[in-house]
């Protein structure tokens, strides 16, 4: 320390910058992101308008009509139903499968570590590309999976081109891409659990199933919740896989929110309806992400022993 004057100067500089500094530091990041609020608000305005690209002269505010029309619109209810079914099925199956694989790989060994890294490869492929890969493999003519289906007696299995199996096929692709995500989160969770409760249970000769349901599962719950919410948020807005695979078809069997909004915008050029759909989806995801972030912050605080 050079002198008391210097010290005081440093101290006062510290105090002043303490007030302004955080704003100065976070301002650039905020400014860059704030640009996004403009298109967001525009989209909300569009959702309150009668706006078709094919009839620009008829563009006018119709206030809540787009939303009120949804009530009596079977297309909208179909979209809502499909989106929820899709998100529900994929997340449930991925969670069960991911947990199973994580339990298989729990023990640290060279083989297990190698397999867990290898399993991340589907996660590295872009979802749209993964969908195209599966489209090649499920081609009714030369697709390898169609051939396998034929071998086990499912002659002429149509995969994504039949309304009966289209959902199954895209769910399969989603599972292929995103199960590793849940697996790696839960594996990290499993390996970070304290060992004492398990040693105590082993000493007492507690049955394995009992240990799993009473010790492993409760202790793993925070990780399961995080993984579920994260996947739920992404899955309810799935676009890439479904659009690349079937473009929402056949018919309207797979018109989930984003696909339906995309088709509304670019094919039927009904901007108002498209925007209203997206606003409803945004409301759903905002609610979910709120739950997710609150939960995450609580976990972080508990991890640092602040609550």
């Amino acid at each position: 320390m050079a002198s008391t004057a210097n010290q005081r100067k440093a101290a006062s500089g510290f105090r002043i910058s303490r007030k302004a500094l955080p704003y100065v530091l976070s301002l650039p990041a905020l400014l860059v992101c704030i640009g996004i609020l403009v298109p967001f608000l525009t989209a909300v305005v569009y959702s309150f308008q009668r706006y078709r690209l094919s009839q620009p002269w008829a563009r006018q505010f119709n206030w809540g009509d787009n939303y009120i029309n949804f009530m009596s619109d079977p297309g909208f209810w179909n979209t809502l139903k499909i989106s929820l079914i899709y998100a529900g099925t994929t997340v449930t199956l991925e969670l069960l499968l991911g947990l199973g694989i994580a339990l298989l790989l729990q023990r640290r060994s060279t083989l297990n570590n190698f397999v867990s890294i290898m399993l991340l490869m589907p996660l590295m492929t872009a979802p749209a590309l993964a969908a195209l890969m599966w489209k090649l493999m499920t081609n009714p003519g030369f697709g390898i999976l169609s051939y396998f289906a034929g071998l086990i007696g499912l002659q002429d299995f149509r995969w994504a081109s039949s309304p009966d199996t289209a959902l199954l096929t895209v769910v399969l692709v989603d599972i292929w891409v995103y199960t590793p995500f849940i697996m790696i989160l839960l594996l990290a969770g499993l390996r970070s659990l304290p060992t004492q409760p398990f040693e105590a249970a082993a000493l007492d000769g507690v049955p394995r199933t009992f240990v799993f349901f009473r010790i492993t599962l409760p202790m793993l719950t925070p990780y399961i919740l995080t993984a579920t919410l994260f996947r739920l948020l992404d899955s309810i807005q799935q676009f890439d896989i479904i659009y690349a695979m079937t473009q929402g078809g056949p018919g309207d069997t797979l018109t989930v929110f984003q696909v339906e909004a995309y088709l509304n915008f670019f094919q039927s050029t009904n901007v108002g309806r498209s925007a209203a759909l997206m606003v409803i989806l945004w409301a759903i995801t905002y609610f979910l992400s709120n739950v997710f972030i609150k939960h995450w912050l609580r976990l972080r605080e508990r991890a640092r022993g602040e609550s």
Binding site: Q7, L30, A126, T285
Partner: protein, 233 residues
Amino acid sequence: METTSTFEKIFRGTALTLVVLFFMFPIFWIFLMSFQTNETILRIPPSVVFTPTFENYQALITGKLTSAAGTLDIAFMRNLGNSVFLSVASVAVALVLGVPAAYAFARHKFRGSEDIAFTLLSFRFAPPLLVLLPLTQYFQWLGLSDTYFGLIWVYQLICLPLILWIVRGYFEDISADVEYAYRIAGHSWFATFRKIALPLAGPGSPLPVCLPSSLPGTTLSSRWCLHRPTSSR
């Protein structure tokens, strides 16, 4: 785990094999396809017997796909270059903007800090189409569509929140006392940030760098390109 029976060993082995088969087979099959010609790919029934050819890779690198029907120009190398440039540039921009902001959020509880941080993160979860559709129109008016600048800006919405929240966690895990000590020794705020905070948070940096850099390549660009099939420059 101590009392591993033979049955359990077999069960675990089979399950693991099935899992690896399910997740690796598509990649393996597409990999095989990449060494085949159309004739061998389109065979019915499918077969793994073929003489490998490097034609496809050659076509990607030279940009000329020659087939019986004629020659087709493919701009793969340019597209790849674009992707690499956009990923690197957007992550670099996101780091420059995000790390100081993350530091501010981690070290200073200022008014509305949690709300701002939450708002930034909620961009990550908002449905992309909601914003992208009007944004396409705005970009056309502003002359930003089909420019690197415009794309890098849009990518910030994905990269920045991720970097911000991951790096914030790193800064929060480091005790602030070291920094206070350095400040009291008379060093400026910037020197403290550069010499103490950054090096301490540094070891965690591969994750925030790698994670978002893979994202523009996968999530958003595929969406964005679906909108703008011509966005090559």
